[in-house]
């Protein structure tokens, strides 16, 4: 058919080929298969991560709810906030617990710097 001299038929055939959604989708997916795969992976990971994030949020809320700012002593507050900081560190992927608040601060600042570097 492609060798025909009937140009109208050739034009129509090419048109039908190009206007076919299946063909168009296939071409698009074929030449962008890495992106398609990444998007699928993203979709799959998203709900899992969302559940993890919700759990972290609940944990932090509970830990902060335990803190009684007016009644607790200085050391109790220190310990309570260190627990919160450890929870945050674990959520951000830190393996070990923080020794004290200063160590947590240094680590968090470093994280922010590296995350900011990535973001920009």
């Amino acid at each position: 058919m492609i060798l025909s001299t009937d140009a109208t038929a050739v034009a129509n055939a090419i048109g039908q080929f190009s206007e076919s959604n299946v063909v168009a989708q296939s071409i698009t997916n074929l030449i962008n298969r890495e992106k398609v795969a990444a998007a699928r992976e993203q979709e799959a990971r998203r709900s899992v991560e969302a559940r993890g994030a919700a759990a972290v949020a609940a944990e932090l809320e509970a830990l902060l709810g335990e803190v009684d700012g007016s009644a607790a002593s200085k050391d109790e507050l220190e310990q309570a906030y260190l627990r919160v900081l450890n929870s945050i560190g674990a959520a951000l992927g830190r393996a070990s617990a923080f020794r004290d608040v200063e160590q947590a601060e240094a680590w968090l600042e470093a994280r922010r710097g590296s995350a900011g570097g990535q973001a920009r």
Partner: protein, 466 residues
Amino acid sequence: MRVQRCIPLLLLAACGSLEVQVDVLDPRVIEREVDRIQFRQSTLGTALGQSRAELEREFSELRAAHRQFYVDLATQFVEAKKLEMAGLSDTGEDEGTDLLLQGMLEGIAQGIPALFDDGPGKRYEEVQEAIWRLFLEARELARQQDGAPAVEAARLGQRIQALARDAGESKADFVAWIEEDIVQAVRGAREGLDIESVRDGLTPQQFDAFSRKVSRSAERAQQAVDVAATSLVGQGSLFQDSYAFAVANASEEDWALHYNRVFGRGRFGDLNVAIKMNSPADFTLKGLTFDPSAVASIAAKVSTQALLVATQISGVPVDVGSDGTSPGGALAGSSAELASMQARIARGEALRADYQDALITIGLAITREADARAGFRSRNPAVRAKSAAAIQATFDAHKPRLQLKEASAGAGQPGGPSPARPAPGPGSGQDSQDEAASKGADEPEPALSEPRFVEVLSTHRKPQSP
């Protein structure tokens, strides 16, 4: 490699070709073949090799067949004549006359072979003798040819060939004469018969059968004529030709190519070519139409497709646009899905970055409050309570960012600094916190999913250490 994938689309192109070619064969090829056939049919071979006894036998066989034909014809003539007379007898002639006539007829029939012997039969001996004389002459020359010089031998050879050809032609002429004689004899016999009387002598059934036989053969003859008339090449076909093998077997250089050629070619466009055969092997171009109007639409479609594919190969989604009728609409439509896919990936990454940033922000809010004067390390319970309240407020403000969900438009907290500002505490940290908070509040509120959000949050600064 990616570019190669779109090349087939660019190569989709139309073309067509029609060609009629008539080639001509060197006529000498056929002449050579004629000579060869004649020689094989023993003009020269017979002239030099056939014995007198063989020649006589050949002629006597021919004569016997010819004579037998006369005998058969006479027999059939008498039979037919009897039928004719039977038809006549109904008219009232007396039987005695019939018998007499029959006797006469049989006498004539018996006399016919003798008539042949006296008439046509005599020519056999004459022709046979003439041919034999040519043979003898050719053989005498062949004897002289042995040992003669080359030029003389060649001359003698030509004369021998001529004699042999004469002998062959004499024989062929004689055979043709025999055939003509037979035709004449049949015609003479027919003229001597009265067909109406023949019909009277037959029963109706016999005559019907005879008529059917005649009409059937007439039909067959008509069909043969029709087939010959409707055939494209008519009598020009090689199939019935005794020289077909010579034609088919002729070497390439004996053919003259490029004789009577007709071409029709088209690239793109609608092309119609009419080629007419005037007569066998004579072609002419009768007409041609060419309509290039569709070429533009092919070019547009092909190049649009190629461009769309190339765009997607480069990783750039194509906007579908408002009109779905433009060429490549489907491809552009599928590209829109790709675009939303890429947007989802980007959004997901932004949400994750935002989530982590929110955690860090909350953590840093706590560490910022770890201050002996203005934070929760203060000896003053009131200061500690305010500090705890500030931390709680920061957490409440950033809690929505921990959900990894896109904020629906107008709902939820924008990710800006907490609207419930941290309680001002004594000390140098207070000013800087206020400054940070007011700076954040002055910023336009960006959507949660925007990466820009991260930048806004990073305006939080740690209070100055005492």
